[in-house]
Symmetry: C2
Subunit: 223 residues, 2 copies
């Protein structure tokens, strides 16, 4: 078997193939999460499913990465944020499967939030809205060559965000020194449901490399 | 089999028993999510697990609730937010298993964020931090008799939040008309990692009942 690949000599084609292998697995677990909050089968079925899932977990745990996925992938020139709970191809919690930059540099993502993301009845949990906005604002600053950790995040909720098909758009608003301001919003069938502004701080290692006019590996960290 | 119980005549003991039945199932799926981002077994094992998980999903889907869990439970006097992605006993994504009010009216929750909640290497995803703070601030206003939908949420990130054992504390800061301001923070091994302020808006149905001096069912919605 050819994976996990050592982080330092991964090639694009091999990474793409590995992602392709994970996608159906992750979708199966994502479907299981959805089924968990929607099933009405009887108690015996739930107990039987519990036993089977515990068996699968035991088999998956027979060989484990020595560290978290983020720590394991860190040495790589090209980051693979596969464990990310908003976008990771190996994280079944992630509802955002694709995030793209349009030609003008804006970021957008179309996605689906099903029953497992419900807060108030019929609506996406406000905290899930903030999770996804934080992620996509992070893409905006990364795509703009100003990656960073979130310093401050403000969400204004305009109306409830209905479960179902949604879109997030984000863009860089302005920058000053080590700070970059990004804005974005969630759009549902009835228009904008929530607006976000985030202040992102350039990490020291990026500042150091910029000061030394060195290339910054993984600058466009969310490709 | 005795569940799902009709929402309107559920009794406390029956609800507690139902929750008890769900807990081990949900933990198994939560373990599966964790194993998904940490396993290093080979590709054949992943494919075999995929097939088995798809079979479990198919069995769980044989009988499904007619609507989401939140919509299904809505008529109940006592809300059961079991599908909630931050605290739901039926939602495997939820890391907050217990939220309690201390005698002074403050809210606190001790919880664990494992590898599946990772954003930057070794750290909790900033959006997950905001999700959990939104939830616990919501408990604070609910426990104070001023439940509401989040109007504005501001998170200030002071330092990275390390994966592992964490605590969130929250309290009501002030109230004015239909608005209630709640504050809170996440505490890690090195102190406060993120601070939150939220403005929560009393929903119309609560205002109407308060105006009519009627009891508000589910006012303490997060018990």
């Amino acid at each position: 078997m050819t994976w996990p690949f050592p982080a330092d000599d991964s090639e694009d084609a091999a990474i793409a193939r590995e992602a392709q292998m994970w996608a159906p697995y992750t979708q199966a677990v994502r479907d299981l999460i959805d089924a968990s909050v929607r099933t009405a089968v009887d108690e015996d079925e739930i107990r039987a499913a519990t036993t089977q899932i515990e068996e699968i977990v035991a088999r998956l745990r027979k060989e484990q990465l020595p560290d978290t996925l983020g720590m394991s992938n860190r040495p790589a020139g090209k980051r693979r944020p596969w464990g990310n709970p908003a976008i990771g191809v190996r994280n079944p919690m992630a509802p955002l499967l694709e995030v793209r930059a349009d030609p003008s540099g804006r970021i957008e993502s179309d996605f689906h939030c099903g029953a497992a993301y419900e807060g108030p009845p019929g609506l996406v949990h406000g905290g899930v809205v903030s999770l996804l906005l934080d992620q996509v604002l992070g893409h905006a600053v990364g795509a703009g060559g100003r990656p960073g950790m979130t310093g401050t995040l403000t969400i204004v909720y305009r109306q409830g965000t209905p479960l179902g098909d949604l879109r997030i758009e984000a863009w860089i608003d302005r920058e000053e020194g080590v700070k970059t301001w990004a804005k974005g919003h969630v759009i549902g069938p009835n228009g904008v449901t929530a607006e976000a502004e985030g202040v992102f701080i350039l990490p020291r290692w990026v500042r150091d490399k910029m000061a030394a006019a060195e290339p910054v590996p993984g600058l466009r960290i969310f490709e």
